[in-house]
Symmetry: C2
Subunit: 132 residues, 2 copies
DNA sequence: CTGGCTGCAAATCTTTTGCATCCTG
DNA sequence: CAGGATGCAAAAGATTTGCAGCCAG
C-alpha cells in the first residue's frame, strides 16, 4: 500500500503520482523516465521534484538507486534484495531472484566489514538474440 | 608489455602516457583522474584524447569500463576477470579475486543467453571504520 | 602521403542547487 | 501557520562531438 511507503513524508499529489508510477514497475526507470511519465498527468511537474522525491524514498528504503546503467541512474521500487540480468545489446534490465551464498574468506576482506552484495549477470535477451 | 595493449592502434605519445599511467594502476580511476594525471606530463592533453583512447582500449579489451560509481565511469586496466569491494563511505574500490560458481537455473534465465557476471561487495573500509 | 589522432571549444545530457511561492499536516 | 515541498531556471559535472590541423605508419 502506497501510503506506507511515504509514512513520515508529506503526501503531496506529485509524490503520490510518482509512487503510483513506481508501484509494481519492473522497468528500472531513470529519473527522466519517471519525469516524462508523471508529466503526462502533472504538466507542472519538475525535475527537482522527481529527484527530491527519489531522494526521500531512497532514505526511507522504499526505492533503491541502481548503478547498472553507465549513462544514468536507474531506480528500483522492488524493496526485497535481488540481483539483475542485463542485456548487452538493448540494455534491458530484468530482476533475477536467486540466493547465492557468497562467503568472503577473512584473508580476502582486506579489512573491510562487508555488509552486502549485488550481482549483475550480463547476456543477450531473447529479443536481441532473435533480432540477430 | 604496453605495446601489446595497443597493437593495431597508432602509438602516439599521448596514448603511451595514458597506458603508462594505467599500467598496474589499482585505483579504478575516472576519465578525469586519468586526464589530470597525464596532463602533468602533457600540458596539451585534452579530454577528447582521453575518452578517445579509452574507447579504443575498451574495444580491444585492454581496459574495462566499470559501472560501480553512480556519478561517473571508472576504468579498470586489470584484464583478468575479478570482482570489486566498495566502501560505502569513501567510495574506495578494491579488487577482490574469488571464484564463485554462479549457476543460473534454466527457468530463471528468462530466455537470456548469459555471458558473464560481476559481483559488487559493499561494506566499510578499514580507514572509514577507524575514522568512526 | 593519408587516415587516424589530437586539441580546442561548443554542445549535450544528467543531476544538483537557489530561491520565491505554495500547501500539507 | 510553519516547515517541508514545489517549480523554475541556472549551475555544475561528465561525456560527446565537430572540425581544422597534425603525425605515425
Amino acid at each position: 500500500m502506497i501510503k506506507n511507503k511515504i509514512k513520515g513524508l508529506k503526501m503531496t499529489p506529485q509524490r503520490l503520482a510518482i509512487l503510483a508510477y513506481l508501484e509494481g514497475n519492473i522497468d528500472h526507470p531513470s529519473a527522466d523516465d519517471i519525469y516524462k511519465a508523471v508529466l503526462k498527468k502533472f504538466p507542472t511537474m519538475s525535475f527537482a521534484t522527481v529527484y527530491n522525491t527519489l531522494e526521500s524514498l531512497k532514505n526511507r528504503g522504499s526505492v533503491s538507486e541502481l548503478t547498472i546503467d553507465p549513462d544514468k541512474k536507474r531506480f528500483d521500487p522492488n524493496p526485497d534484495p535481488h540481483n539483475h540480468l542485463i542485456c548487452n545489446k538493448c540494455r534491458k534490465i530484468l530482476d533475477i531472484h536467486i540466493d547465492y551464498e557468497l562467503r568472503v574468506p577473512y584473508e580476502k576482506k582486506q579489512g573491510f566489514e562487508i555488509t552486502g552484495n549485488h550481482i549483475k549477470f550480463y547476456g543477450i535477451c531473447p529479443k536481441c538474440r532473435r533480432g540477430k
